[in-house]
C-alpha cells in the first residue's frame, strides 16, 4: 500500500486531488480571514471557495497521477532515465488507464473518451428534442433547458469534435510520416489527461447551485458575467480543454516539421498530415483568444473587474469580437482534419491519386489564412461598427472558394477511378460530400448580410451548424474511425452493421436537420424551449428523426465494441492503401518501425506501375526505385 502511494498512479492521484482541493479551499478561507471578510461568499457570481479548488484540485490530481514526475525530477537535477520507455505500449486494458506516453495508446484513449462524451452530448440533445417535440412546456423547466443546449454544445465541441480529431491524428499521423512517436510524448499524455478533467468540470456544473452554465456555448457577456455559479465552471473548463488543444497542436507542429521520414518532403506528405498542420496553426493562433475571453468573464465575475460592465466603462461587444476571433477559426479546427480524412479514404477506395494534390494542400492553407479574417460574420446584427460588415462579408464569401476546391477535387478523384464501396468508411466519405455541400451553401447564404439579418439567431443557423458539424465533421469522424479501426485494433468491423449505421445516420441527419432550415426562415428563433404552434408538426418530425438518429448510434457502438474483441483478423493492409501506416502490422509494434522507412514518392501513386510511396526498413535496401514525378496528365475524354 505504501509503495502504491509513492508510485504515480490512481492512489497518488486521488490523494493529490484531495490535497489540491484542500489547498485551494484553505487558501481562500485563510486569505478571506486575514482580510476580515466573511469566510464564505455565496453571491451567485462568487463562491471563491468553490472555484479556486476547481482550479487547484485538477493540478493536484495531475501531480499525483504522475504527469509532472519526469519534468520535476529533471528540473531538480535528479537522475532521470531519458530512454525510459516503461510508459510505452499497452499490454493489458489497465495500461489504458495509466499516464501512458505511447502515441498509439494516447490516440485510443482520446477516441474512446471522446466517444463517451459524444454519447453524453447526444443524450442532452435528445432531452431537448423531447421537450421540443410539441409546443408548450413538457419535460424540463425553461432554466434547465438553457443549461441543456449550453452543455450539449460545449460537450460536443470541446470534448468530442475537436479532441476526437486530435485522437485519430495522434494514432495515425506519426505512423504516416514514418516517426516512432510524437515529438513530446509526455506533453502528449498530459494533453490527453486534461481532457477528462475539462469534461468533468463541464458536466459537474449541473451540481452547482443555480444549475449548469446556461448562457449558451457562446457565453455572451453580460449574460454570462451575471449568471449563477455554473458559468464559472464553464470559464474554468474551457481553460483545461483549451490547454489540451494548444499542447497537442504544438506537438503536431513540431512532429510534422521535424520528424518526417527521410525523403518525405512537403509535397509527399499525405493530405491528412497537411490537414493537421493547418489545423494546428489555427489552434495555436486562435485558442488563446477563447481562453482570454473566458478569463475576462471569470475575472468580471469573481474579482469584480469590469471588462464587460458598461456602467463602469466596460465594452459589452468586445467580448464577441474576442470570442469569435477564436470561434470562427474553431469551426475550421473542427473541419480541416475531416477534410484530410476524406482525401485519404477517397483516394484509397477510388484507387486513384488525389486530384490536384498541391491545390488541395494550398486550399487548406488558404482556409487557415482567410479564417482569421471572417470572425465578425457572426456579428452582422450585433450592433458592431457598420463599416466592418461588408469587408467581412467579402472574406466570408471568399472562404467558400477553397472549400469548393476541395469538394470539386474529391469529385475529380472519383472520375476514371475504380470506386469500391464495400467499406463503410467510403460510404460515409461519399455521403459527406453531399451533406457538407448543403452546409456550405447555407453558410454562403448566412454570409450574405441581408439574408443573415433575417435568419441570424434562428433555426436556420441551427440547421447550418448541424449540416456542417454533423453532416460534415461527424461523418468524417465516422469515416475515419471505420477506416483506421482495423489498424488500431488489428480486427475488422462488421460491414453489414456498418451499412445499417450508415443509412440510419444519413437518413436521420437529413430528416432531422433539413426542416430546421424551413422553420428558421419562417420565424422560429433558436435557443427557445417553446415555440408557436404552427411549427409543431415540423418539430415533431425533427424530434422523431433525432431519436432515430440517436438510436442508430447504438449499432455503431455495438459494432465497435464487439468487433474490437471478436472481429476477424484484419491483416496489415485491408484497403490496399499506399501510405506508411498500412505497411506495418495491425496493430503496429510499440515503436512503430524497426527501421525508419525511406520515402521515395507521393502518397497516392495508385495506377502507376512500380511507383512506391515508401520503402520499409528491411526491404531490398540497395535497389533503386524510380522516382515518380507528380505529373499532370490530362484526362482522356
Amino acid at each position: 500500500m505504501a509503495a502504491a502511494i509513492r508510485q504515480p498512479g490512481w492512489y497518488r492521484g486521488a490523494i493529490g486531488l484531495v490535497l489540491g482541493a484542500a489547498f485551494g479551499f484553505g487558501l481562500v478561507i485563510a486569505l478571506r480571514a486575514i482580510s476580515g471578510l466573511d469566510l464564505f461568499q455565496t453571491e451567485q457570481t462568487g463562491y471563491p471557495h468553490v472555484v479556486v479548488p476547481l482550479i487547484t484540485a485538477p493540478f493536484g490530481f495531475l501531480f499525483g497521477f504522475g504527469a509532472f514526475d519526469y519534468w520535476f525530477r529533471w528540473a531538480a537535477g535528479k537522475p532521470t532515465i531519458p530512454e525510459d520507455h516503461s510508459g510505452h505500449g499497452a499490454y493489458s486494458w489497465k495500461d489504458y488507464f495509466k499516464f501512458n506516453t505511447d502515441h498509439k495508446v494516447i490516440g485510443t484513449q482520446y477516441v474512446v473518451t471522446t466517444l463517451f462524451f459524444f454519447l453524453i452530448g447526444g443524450l442532452l440533445a435528445l432531452l431537448m428534442r423531447a421537450e421540443l417535440a410539441q409546443p408548450g412546456a413538457q419535460i424540463v423547466a425553461a432554466s434547465t433547458f438553457n443549461g441543456l443546449f449550453s452543455t450539449h454544445a460545449v460537450v460536443m465541441i470541446f470534448l468530442f469534435i475537436i479532441p476526437v480529431f486530435a485522437g485519430l491524428a495522434n494514432y495515425v499521423l506519426p505512423l504516416m510520416i514514418g516517426a516512432p512517436d510524437m515529438a513530446f510524448p509526455r506533453l502528449n499524455a498530459l494533453s490527453f489527461w486534461l481532457l477528462p478533467i475539462a469534461g468533468l468540470i463541464f458536466i459537474g456544473s449541473f451540481l452547482a447551485p443555480g444549475g449548469a452554465f446556461d448562457a449558451g456555448w457562446t457565453g455572451y457577456a453580460p449574460l454570462s458575467t451575471g449568471a449563477p455559479l455554473g458559468q464559472s465552471f464553464f470559464n474554468i473548463g474551457v481553460q483545461f480543454a483549451g490547454a489540451s488543444s494548444i499542447a497537442t497542436a504544438l506537438n503536431f507542429l513540431v512532429t510534422i516539421i521535424t520528424m518526417r521520414a527521410p525523403g518525405m518532403n512537403l509535397w509527399r506528405m499525405p493530405l491528412l498530415v497537411w490537414a493537421n498542420l493547418s489545423t494546428s496553426l489555427l489552434v495555436v493562433g486562435a485558442t488563446p483568444f477563447v481562453a482570454g475571453a473566458q478569463f475576462m468573464v471569470f475575472f468580471d465575475r469573481i474579482l469584480g473587474m469590469n471588462f464587460f460592465n458598461f456602467l463602469e466603462g466596460g465594452d459589452v461587444i468586445s467580448y464577441q469580437h474576442i470570442f469569435w476571433f477564436y470561434s470562427h477559426p474553431a469551426v475550421y479546427i473542427m473541419m480541416l482534419p475531416g477534410f484530410g480524412i476524406i482525401s485519404e479514404i477517397i483516394s484509397t477506395h477510388a484507387r486513384k491519386p488525389v486530384f490536384g494534390y498541391r491545390l488541395m494542400a494550398l486550399a487548406l492553407i488558404g482556409i487557415v489564412v482567410l479564417s482569421y479574417s471572417v470572425w465578425a460574420h457572426h456579428m452582422f446584427v450585433a450592433g458592431m461598427f457598420s463599416w466592418l460588415r461588408v469587408p467581412i462579408m467579402i472574406t466570408t464569401l471568399l472562404i467558400a472558394v477553397p472549400t469548393g476546391i476541395k469538394v470539386f477535387s474529391w469529385l475529380g478523384t472519383l472520375f476514371y477511378g475504380k470506386i469500391h464501396t464495400y467499406s463503410t468508411a467510403m460510404l460515409f466519405a461519399l455521403a459527406f460530400i453531399i451533406t457538407f455541400t448543403v452546409g456550405g451553401i447555407s453558410g454562403v447564404m448566412l454570409g450574405m448580410i441581408p439574408i443573415d439579418i433575417h435568419v441570424s439567431d434562428t433555426y436556420f443557423v441551427v440547421a447550418h451548424i448541424h449540416f456542417v458539424l454533423f453532416g460534415g465533421s461527424v461523418f468524417t469522424i465516422f469515416a475515419g474511425i471505420y477506416h483506421w479501426f482495423p489498424k488500431m485494433t488489428g480486427r475488422m468491423y462488421d460491414e453489414r452493421l456498418g451499412r445499417i449505421h450508415f443509412w440510419g445516420t444519413v437518413i436521420g441527419t437529413w430528416l432531422a436537420f433539413v426542416p430546421m432550415h424551413w422553420i428558421g426562415m419562417d420565424g422560429m428563433p433558436r435557443r427557445v424551449a417553446d415555440y408557436a404552434t404552427q411549427y409543431g408538426d415540423w418539430n415533431l418530425l425533427i424530434s422523431v428523426s433525432a431519436f432515430a438518429l440517436g438510436a442508430v448510434q447504438l449499432v455503431f457502438l455495438y459494432n465497435m465494441i464487439v468487433s474490437w474483441r471478436f472481429g476477424p483478423k484484419a491483416g496489415n493492409n485491408p484497403w490496399r492503401a499506399n501510405s506508411i501506416e498500412w505497411q506495418v502490422t495491425s496493430p503496429p509494434p510499440v515503436f512503430n518501425f524497426d527501421e525508419i522507412p525511406r520515402v521515395v514518392g507521393g502518397p497516392y501513386e495508385y495506377g502507376t506501375p512500380g511507383a512506391r510511396h515508401a520503402i520499409m526498413g528491411g526491404e531490398d535496401e540497395g535497389a533503386e526505385v524510380p522516382e515518380t514525378k507528380p505529373s499532370t496528365v490530362t484526362a482522356p475524354s
Partner: protein, 263 residues
Amino acid sequence: MVLAVLVLGVVQSVILLQFDWFGEAAATEAAPIDTMMDVTVVISSFIFAIVCVALGYALIKWRAKPGDESDGLPIHGNTKLEIIWTIIPVIIVLGLGGYSWAVLDDIEKTDENALHVNAYAQQFAWTFGYPEDGNKWSEGVLHVPVNRQVIFDLQAQDVIHSFWVPEWRIKKDAVPGLATDAVVTPDKEGTYQLVCAELCGIGHTTMRAYVIVESEEKYEAWLSKQTTEVPTSLLKTKDEYLEAEAKEQEESGGIEGSGVVEE
C-alpha cells in the same frame, strides 16, 4: 452530364421557388431581401446539382466490379480544370457580395421624416417610447403607422436582446451601453409579433411583444389616448442613466453605504 446538371438544377429551382421561404412580408425592406433569397436559391440549386450529378455519374460509371483489384487511371490533376473551379466560384461569390452590398445599402437608407421610436429591452419584456410625442410609453404593445419609415432606437437595460419582427425581415441587437437602431418601413396593416432573438436568460423564450401596424389616423388616435411617460429609469444614454440613478438615490435619501450621495 451537362444535360443532367441542367435538368436537375432547373427542376430543383422550380420546386424550391414554389415556397415562400421567409413567410409573409409586411415591410418595404422585405421585397429585395426575398428576391435575393430566390436568386440565391436558384444559384445554389445548380451548384448542388453539379455535385450530385458528378458524384452519381462517377459512381455509376466507375464503380469497381467485385474482385477487380486493378487501379484507376493515374491522373494527378488538370491545371485548366483547377483554374476554372477556382475562378468561377470567385466570380460567383464576388457577384453575390456586390449584390448583397447593394441590397444592404438599399434597405438601410433612412428617410428624413422617419418616425423615431425607442424600444427598451429588459429581462424579459419590451416597452416602447415615443420621443416625438411627449415621450409617451407603451408596455408590451408597439403601435406604428403604416407606410412611414420607422427608426427604432434600441436600448438594452441589462443584457443583450435582439429586436426582430419576422414579417419585417429586420433584426438588430439591443446592447447595453451601445446605441443601435433598426430601420423598417411597415407597408401592411396587421398584428405581428416582436421576437427577442438573442438569448437573454430564463425568460428568453417568452420575451415577445405585439406589433400593431395601423393607418396614420388610428395610430394618432391611439397615441393621443396614452398618458404614461417613459420612466426615468429607462433613459437613454449611459450618462443619462447614471444621472437618473443618482437623482433617484438623492430623492430617496441615498442608499445606505453606497457612498454615492452624502447625507
